[in-house]
Amino acid sequence: MRFVLLIDFGSTYTKLTAVDVEKAEVLATADDYTTADTDIMIGFEKAYSKLQSAAGNIAYQKRLACSSAAGGLRMVACGLVPALTAKAAKLAAFGAGAKVIQTFAYELTNDDVAQIDAIAPDILLLTGGTDGGNREVIEHNAHMLARSKRAFPIVYAGNRGSKDVCIEQLDGELHPVYATENVMPVLNKLNILPAQSIIRQIFLEKIISGKGLSREKALIEGIIMPTPSAVLSALTLLSEGTNGRRGIGELMAVDLGGATTDIYSIAKGAPSNPATILHGLQEPYAKRTVEGDIGMRYSAHGIVEAAGMDETCRCSGLDSSAVNAMLDRINRDKSMLPQTEEEKAFDFALAALAVRIGLCRHAGTIQQIYTPMGPVFQQTGKDLTEIDRIIITGGALIHSAQYTDIIREAVSVSDEQALIPRKARVARDARYILSAMGLLASYDQNTAFDILYKSFGKDEVYATE
């Protein structure tokens, strides 16, 4: 018998999953509050005793953990042009499971450096210029960053011609530099995997131990990746399969949280209409975006701001004064659970609108342009209209009885420019196993795939038809 214990130190909950590897089965799951402020082991022990009483007293051969506790992996991205290297840097950081606190484009100023010091990122990703391209800006930025008084590692993934100059400016006690390949070596071509693997390495070597999460070293050393990176790896595995197992194909996932909303797509996003011209930066096959202003509680006002009051009223059936009253309530009590019909209707609207905004920002757009040669379609970003599987996770979606209605409402967009899924089969991460399976994949891919397939390969509900 081989048993593996998978641990997700989340920002709010510490979630444990016990897996029987030979049977490819989840034996039990358990959770408790994350105790990052005192010692993260306190919350872990509480959850662990729940798990052991549910699964029986098991000895685990392997323990693997991911973490988004204590703020997660906080990053700042710097690039040159906002739509090019700055965007590539942001996509690279998101894909590595980071929270991108801010993205800077063009030359950094003294104020920008002061702001970076105030943010105190875990890692700064420095990019700019294609290989053989612009050197001035990234070299200027390295020069400016050398004035920063905070200690943080810098990942250099810009113009390879400027690498030595920048390392000379920066490398030292305060800002150790990890140089890797350019995130955009050729115009509009993304190359984010090398930067991501360096980010992962720094996360393992420095950041986890640096966060002072626990006095107990052994468990903390088992933390092998940030939580979103584990989720992305589970979704990619389910989509693509393994050597011996066929994946379920292209898919998307939505993680609706209290403060942020994460959207994932494992898809090429090629135009579904052949008469389409692609524009702009090529996007990653496995793409993650994070909406920092969209969340069910801490960012509830952000949802209403982005969706507009009229749409919020229409979606919830409440009038604007009732909407404002609801926002006030949530603002006073972030742990509010909906009780009355009115509260439930408002939470429904918040969830549906948050998912819609997240999907629209993640997906590409298409524009019909009338030319002297007739109408032509111009696409920027990924076309996800043909995706029909959406996996949902995050408390607000998992625990809602109306989760299919939420997704149906979210994807019912009249705006044909937004290339979001039109018909979605919904699968629910009811036992919170996505991140656990991403971890397990690093130990036993086939077992992780089998468990994912059992959970998400079937039993789906069509949200729209």
Partner: protein, 138 residues
């Protein structure tokens, strides 16, 4: 000799792709580092590409007759974006109808283009001009 970098593309709502491919091939064969933005390229896309790639020249093609509208303000935007001395070429069927080329050329030169090429220009002509302007060859 250091390879010079060119940005090429067809401006505006113009989808003529064949000539664009021919130029891409011809300029690369001539030893340039060529970044091809394809068809339906906006002014901003040329400029952003030129910044990231530190391009030496932007070559704008237009075949559908609306080039004059599409090209207005490109030089000003380049100046604004810090591409002060970048070489700007335009070529193709850049205006509506049959107009005397000398007049057309003047209008585009006034707009800030360094060279203006009329319909039927062979790639060799443009390559010679590029070599002269970028390398000082004759």
């Amino acid at each position: 000799m250091e390879k010079k970098t060119l940005i090429i593309g067809v401006i505006g709502a113009d989808v003529h792709a064949v000539g664009n491919q021919i130029l891409y091939f011809a300029f690369r064969e001539a030893g340039f580092n060529v970044i091809n933005l394809g068809v339906m390229v906006s002014q901003e896309e040329y400029i952003e590409a030129a910044i990231e790639a530190k391009a030496d020249a932007i070559l704008v093609s237009s075949l559908y007759g609306h080039g004059e509208l599409d090209c207005q303000g490109l030089r000003d935007k380049c100046n604004e974006a810090g591409l002060k001395d970048i070489l700007l070429y335009v070529g193709g069927n850049i205006v509506v109808g049959k107009q005397p080329f000398e007049e057309v050329k003047k209008r585009f030169t006034d707009m800030g283009f360094d060279r203006v090429f009329g319909p039927g220009t062979s790639p060799e002509t443009t390559i010679e001009a590029l070599q002269e302007d970028l390398y000082g060859a004759h």
